[in-house]
Symmetry: C2
């Protein structure tokens, strides 16, 4: 399951995707329209900005905007920034790989199974972008 944080992130990005090319959007506006606790949303947007998914501007006329066009912003990357690995086991994760201490590294059938599962999800989430969330 995605965390609440990741769910909020997707909703906020959906909103920013709809406003893409129209200049910065206030955190408060996103929070109100998408019903997200504002201080929590601040943290989320900051993380997305530090991951180069968003850009921000301070002061009057400031706010947040997508760094790249909606069709360039890949859903899998968003989820990785907020929730970490998409794979179901550390030993089959592409971006958060960690070797498993117990299982035989030469050939593990459990590993094979979860590589298949991982590839199946990634085949969807790596191809989907924020533009797929727009009406």
């Amino acid at each position: 399951m995605l965390s609440k944080k990741a769910q909020y992130a997707i909703k906020a990005l959906e909103y920013l995707a709809a406003r893409y090319g129209q200049g910065p959007v206030l955190i408060s506006e996103i929070a109100e329209k998408k019903q997200i606790p504002i201080k929590f949303l601040e943290n989320i947007l900051l993380e997305l900005r530090n991951a180069d998914i968003l850009e921000s501007k301070k002061g009057k006329g400031g706010g947040y905007a997508l760094k790249d066009p909606p069709d360039q912003t890949i859903v899998a990357n968003v989820l990785r920034v907020i929730d970490g690995p998409i794979a179901m086991l550390p030993c089959v994760s592409l971006y958060f790989y960690q070797p498993c201490e117990t299982c035989d590294p030469t050939h593990c059938r459990i590993k094979d199974l979860f590589i298949e599962a991982r590839d199946a999800v990634l085949n969807v989430l790596e191809k989907k972008t924020l533009s797929d969330l727009l009406p």
Copy 2:
């Protein structure tokens, strides 16, 4: 990510699949061979038994065994028993469905996306059985 509990469950079941048809296996044997804390494993096996995935026998000559043959024991069901939903959002879960309060129920593009992701994983995990874990 799967919980440690689910990872232990898979390993224990892999062991029991290899011993299928050879009578009950002791918890202590599984715990030792698969390097799982024994008291924790007790809880796990009990949950799997209550979910009709395992059967058990008390007293001397007792232990745990698969209820059905390895090729009838579906991995997706095992994961659901231990970790709950496989879907990434409550509103797209088949067995643990919960409506989302905020989003438009008539048509939600976020929902559509995560239905696609869910179907992709289930297409793997519903087809795999414990016999796919055997050598």
